[in-house]
């Protein structure tokens, strides 16, 4: 391609709508360091950004601002103890003893709670291993670059194990919900789950998955108590067919 031919294509190049061969040729030309074309790409970028001016501008819903900002902004640092209050608390031996007792009780309760969590995690992993080891388990992979990715292990009699990474961060009032999508009709809930701080999750569902009546496993973002039917577009759809 000559420069004048490429000049006609830069807008489509930045929109990523060029045919593969044409795009590859321009990419190679840019890698070779053509200053003229670098400048043209920047102009095309600016022109196509300005094309957003043809859109009718609509205000986003008010709740979206807090949702977006709270999902990004760093957590506030824990508040410092009120020294005066601490001094008062330590003023009397009886009060201090009581505080220690309360603290020990709380610690014990926390440890019990943690033990309970660990036991639940162990049970979930055992259930996952049991399900995965059964004959007839199918593995479906999903995901693309920069999107949630993972695998779904489906066993007709053992339920499913859903393993995902790169899940989006959710506010405290939202949760992920698994759905079994039939060829026609309403999706059926297969449980709720949340991701860890890194956006990963391993979820075991005992819901029986009939391959004949399940077209896909999907995940949508729902209110923290879950929904009877999806209220948002799914962020993951893993086809079983």
């Amino acid at each position: 391609m000559t420069h004048s031919e490429m000049d006609e294509l830069y807008e489509l190049f930045v929109l990523r709508t060029l045919e593969r061969e044409e795009a590859s040729e321009i990419e190679q030309h840019l890698r070779d360091g053509c200053v003229h074309c670098e400048a043209r790409v920047r102009e095309a970028d600016a022109l196509m950004a300005a094309f957003a001016g043809t859109v009718e501008i609509v205000e986003p819903p008010g709740h979206l601002r807090e949702r977006v900002l709270s999902s990004i902004r760093p957590s506030p640092a824990p508040k410092r103890e009120n020294h005066k209050a601490v001094l008062y608390a330590l003023a009397g031996l009886c009060a201090a003893s009581l505080a220690v007792c309360v603290w020990l009780g709380t610690m014990t309760s926390n440890l019990n709670s943690r033990l309970s969590d660990v036991a639940q995690e162990r049970n979930a992993l055992e259930a996952a291993l049991k399900s995965l080891s059964q004959s007839g388990t199918r593995t479906i992979q999903f995901g693309k670059a920069n999107q949630p990715e993972g695998k779904v292990f489906v066993n007709p009699s053992g339920g499913l194990v859903f393993v995902a990474a790169r899940l989006p961060r959710l506010g405290p009032d939202r949760t992920f919900q698994l759905w079994l999508v039939p060829p026609a009709g309403a999706p059926k809930s297969a449980g709720l789950f949340r991701s860890d701080e890194k956006g990963s999750s391993v979820t075991v569902s005992n819901v029986l998955v009939d391959p004949a009546t399940t077209k896909a496993v999907a995940v949508s973002v729902e209110p923290s108590s879950g929904s009877s039917a999806p209220t948002t577009t799914p962020i993951i759809v893993a086809g079983l067919e």
């Binding site: 957003a52 999902s71 999907a218 999806p230």
Partner: protein, 186 residues
Amino acid sequence: MSDLSSELALVERLRNRDPEALEAAYDRYSAVVYSVFLRITRDQSAAEDLVQELFIRVWTHISSFDPSKAALSVWILSIARNLGIDYVRSAQARFSAQLQPMEHADRADRKARIEPELVIHRGRTVRAAFETLNLKQRRVLELAYFQGLSQTEIASHLQEPLGTVKSWMRSALHCLRATVSGGDAK
């Protein structure tokens, strides 16, 4: 403070992880990017998710933005458009017909209070130029921009010869370029 210097100041504050800068960026760009996502996806819920994804990217990738190469608005709108097109190209979109949101909020009362030109440099100029195009020229541009279709796909979609589509596209882009460069020269 000029638009350029205020934008550079905003970039610097974002780089310094200033949460208030993030709020300022949201207040400045959210309506435009939300509108672009809404136009591309035609799905309010998806548009909201994409706005969140966009600002996460802005926050985490601001260090890779080079103000000497592009305006912040160009960088953000480029990411937004690509995110939107990636969404509609994805497998999720193919299933969205089955899992459409149950309710769509009425957005008729949420017409923008902002003037797009304030955040989209030359947006009004391009919009005026776009309105001078004939319907076929507008259609091919819209299919490329909002649906991410190649010229071959547009030809198939419109059931028109590829050469004809290329001709409409070439003349449409030429008109936009000429109007913008003419506007800059004034």
